[in-house]
């Protein structure tokens, strides 16, 4: 399904990114240019760049896809992404800017006078950064795949190459300008098609009235899909299909409702109600789970209730529209699930390594706070729109439930609009926006990862005597290494929801860096041992819990155990509500039990909290 307009959109965005990146390269000379743009970036450009970096593919594509899939509960994601910025503003924006370090590891070492704590922080930056690059890679893959019609993996590799090149060429100074431009593109690309979609499909009231009036999502056009042996469908209403040829299927379970009439010839009847049947080319499938045993092409007439592919839990429109629907409700512990999600995203935002580094580009704390407020305005306005695509997708693109491509609804929905040149143009615009989304976030992440690899691991441990040129080379090699690692990991995550992957990065950040930063800034009693043990405990506990959830997707035993213990399953999938208090308890407990404040803690507190006007300020790093 090649779309020329989408290709034009992608190429235009790529050309703009490269041009601005090359233009900016002429200004990037020293390490400090690369890392914090010499702290001279203006607040407005900085706020746009932060928003550009923060509005990742998870925001541009993922929220709409997840709303389409799960409904109301997903609104917690965009609201908490924005609210996380408020938490960042009120707790750390000002003091952290005054402290004047480049990265979270710089803060860890400067505040706690401990190179070992710095190493721990570097390790966590790499873990969180890689977790956060995975969903961006997935977005890159599906965007290019849907525009050009090349396979997912090729899309991932192509886009990774583009972003790695940009970062290696320009560093952050280039990227600041590129990201400010990309924010503008993203905002335009989400709002403009929204207006046209509203004109075409009617006001939100009408959209929701349609959703109320029907029990389940229906196909608005006839759908033809190829199925392969092993594909599973959940049929929600008796479904008439046309097949290329007689095809064997296995009926795994039958829902309530009328007994199937034209199911075909039962061939075997194994115990447990699993029936293998041979479908005639014009067949009727009963409600329930169906597994295809032979490849074939299936035609489903318009107006049928869309069958759901694997990975998309079927839900009635009534459940989808209300709180505790198929996302929170299906967890078995809706309230616990919702609260843990809220805490993870609220607290995780300020623990994201690529977000914090931006605050050092403000000249002082006052500008840092104003920048953060400006960011809140920009992202708040942006987040009004993606849920609209989700609701429209449920109404007009139910086929994505069958194909499992809900994450691509922002890219595909505009093509529903006629005349076709309008739809194609809008699809080109949203594709350009998606490119801006993953390119901006990926380059920000690559800079943080390259900083950790080049600045910390190489520049501090391996060759502390390295000069400026050598450090810049190390930074570039770090960018290349991190980018390649992310691309290879990205090849493996096609099956996961973008926002679920993002949620994991937030959970780890919220359980480790959040308490270290907030307590480290506001409580002078936090000791090095307390910070180190608490950060490690929270980070490791959250990572293990998430790893358990990932393993459970491959291990029926573990999955069965978690199914029987829904509260435990929720905590494993979304661990912050337990691991954050745990990390705080360890930090406070250890600090109170062995009260040995790190050397220079008093001076550090002065530096973080005294207004610059008093003139006592020093930056942590002098260049």
């Amino acid at each position: 399904m090649t779309s020329p307009a989408a290709i034009v959109g992608l190429l235009a965005m790529l050309a703009a990114t490269v041009t601005v990146g090359i233009f900016a390269r002429r200004f990037a000379r020293t390490t400090s240019d690369f890392l914090v743009a010499a702290r001279a970036v203006r607040p407005a450009a900085n706020a746009a760049a932060i928003s550009g970096e923060y509005l990742s593919a998870a925001s541009f594509l993922g929220i709409a896809g997840l709303v389409m899939k799960y409904g109301f509960d997903v609104l917690w994601y965009p609201v908490d992404y924005a609210a996380g910025y408020l938490v960042l503003l009120i707790f750390i924006a000002g003091p952290l800017r005054r402290f004047g370090a480049y990265t979270i590891p710089d803060f860890a070492e400067g505040r706690f006078a401990s190179p070992r704590l710095r190493r721990l922080a570097v390790g966590l930056v790499i873990v969180i950064g890689l977790f956060y690059t995975l969903p961006q890679m997935k977005a890159a893959g599906i965007t290019v795949a849907s525009a050009v019609g090349i396979p997912y993996g090729a899309g991932v590799l192509l886009m990774a190459a583009v972003v790695i090149t940009i970062v290696m060429a320009g560093g952050m100074r280039g990227v600041t300008i590129v990201q400010a431009m990309q924010f503008t593109v993203k905002l335009f690309a989400i709002t403009t098609p929204s207006f046209v979609l509203l004109i075409h499909f009617g006001a939100p009231a009408g959209i929701f009235a349609h959703l109320h009036s029907d029990a389940v999502p229906r196909l608005s056009q006839p759908l033809t899909v190829k199925v392969n042996p092993g594909d599973e469908w959940q049929v929600v209403e008796t479904l008439h299909v046309h097949l290329d040829h007689p095809t064997r299927v296995r009926l795994l379970s039958s829902g309530p409702g009328p007994a199937p009439v034209d199911v075909g010839t039962p061939e075997t009847q194994p115990p447990g109600g699993r029936r293998e049947v041979l479908l005639t080319p014009s067949a009727t499938l009963p409600p329930g789970r169906v597994r295809w045993e032979q490849p074939t092409r299936v035609e489903i007439p318009a107006g049928s209730a869309a069958p759901y592919g694997a990975g998309t839990p079927p839900s009635s429109n009534a459940a989808w529209l209300r709180p505790f629907g198929p996302l929170a409700g299906a967890s078995g512990q809706p309230l616990l699930f919702t609260y843990s999600l809220i805490v993870a995203i609220l607290c995780g935002t300020l623990g994201l390594p690529h977000i914090l580094v931006r605050f050092y580009t403000n000249p002082d704390a006052r500008q840092a706070r104003r920048t953060a407020l400006f960011v809140l305005v920009l992202v708040g306005f942006f987040y009004l729109w993606p849920p609209l695509y989700g609701a429209l997708g449920r109404l007009h693109m139910a086929r994505l439930y069958t194909t499992g491509l809900t994450d691509a609804v922002v890219l595909l929905l505009p093509r529903q609009i006629g005349p076709s040149w309008v739809g194609d143009t809008l699809a080109g615009i949203t594709s350009a926006g998606a490119f801006a989304a993953f390119a901006a976030t990926l380059s920000g992440l690559l800079i943080s990862l390259a900083g950790a690899l080049g600045h910390d691991i190489y520049g501090r441990w391996l060759r502390p005597e390295a000069g400026g040129a050598e450090r810049n080379l190390a930074f570039r090699i770090g960018a290349l290494t991190a980018g390649l690692a992310a691309a290879l990991l990205g090849l493996m995550v096609e099956r996961f929801d973008i926002n679920v992957l993002v949620g994991w990065a937030f959970a780890i950040a919220a359980s480790s860096f959040f308490p270290m930063l907030v307590l480290g800034i506001w409580w002078r009693g936090l000791t090095t041992a307390g910070a180190a043990l608490g950060t490690a405990t929270g980070g490791v506990a959250a990572t293990l819990a998430i790893a358990t959830t990932m393993v459970a997707t491959a291990s029926p035993t573990l999955a069965g155990f978690l199914d029987r213990n829904p509260a435990l399953a929720v905590i494993m999938a979304q661990p912050t509500i337990v691991t954050l208090p745990l990390a705080v308890a360890v930090m406070v407990g250890v600090s109170l039990a062995w009260p040995r404040p790190p050397t220079g803690a008093a001076a550090t507190m002065l530096q973080m909290h005294l207004p610059e006007r008093l003139g006592l300020r020093r930056d942590y790093i002098h260049e």
Partner: protein, 117 residues
């Protein structure tokens, strides 16, 4: 991108140290008391905003859980929780942020004025 100019805080001239500033700089006990007072005022402001945020967000799932009428109310066919959470949250977040920035700057300025007297 040139240096942002005309900002009186970005490039401060080294001011003559007053007695109070010297207490801070040399981290005397008096200086500690000054700093603690500043920290307390800033932190209590931050916590006030944080608690407001938590109450605003945290009450919504609870109300939806305990008051089914809230969850099932529609306004022009749109379920009320969609409007409250998905539209109404953002202006409140921005208002909270603006409140914080104004008051945090005021606390900083008052402290600076006190120290520079």
């Amino acid at each position: 991108m040139e240096e942002s100019s005309g900002n009186r805080e970005s490039r401060p001239q080294p001011p003559p140290l007053t007695a109070d500033l010297r207490e801070l700089e040399e981290q005397t006990q008096v200086g500690e008391i000054f700093l603690s007072a500043l920290l307390r005022r800033q932190l209590s402001l931050s916590l006030r905003v944080a608690v407001t945020l938590l109450v605003m967000l945290g009450l919504q799932p609870l109300v939806a859980w305990l008051v089914p009428a809230y969850a099932s109310t529609d306004v022009l066919s749109i379920p009320l929780p969609w409007l409250v959470l998905g539209v109404g949250s953002y202006p409140v977040l921005i208002a909270l942020g603006a409140y914080y920035v104004r008051h945090a700057e005021r606390v900083d300025d008052e402290f600076s004025d006190l120290m520079r007297r």
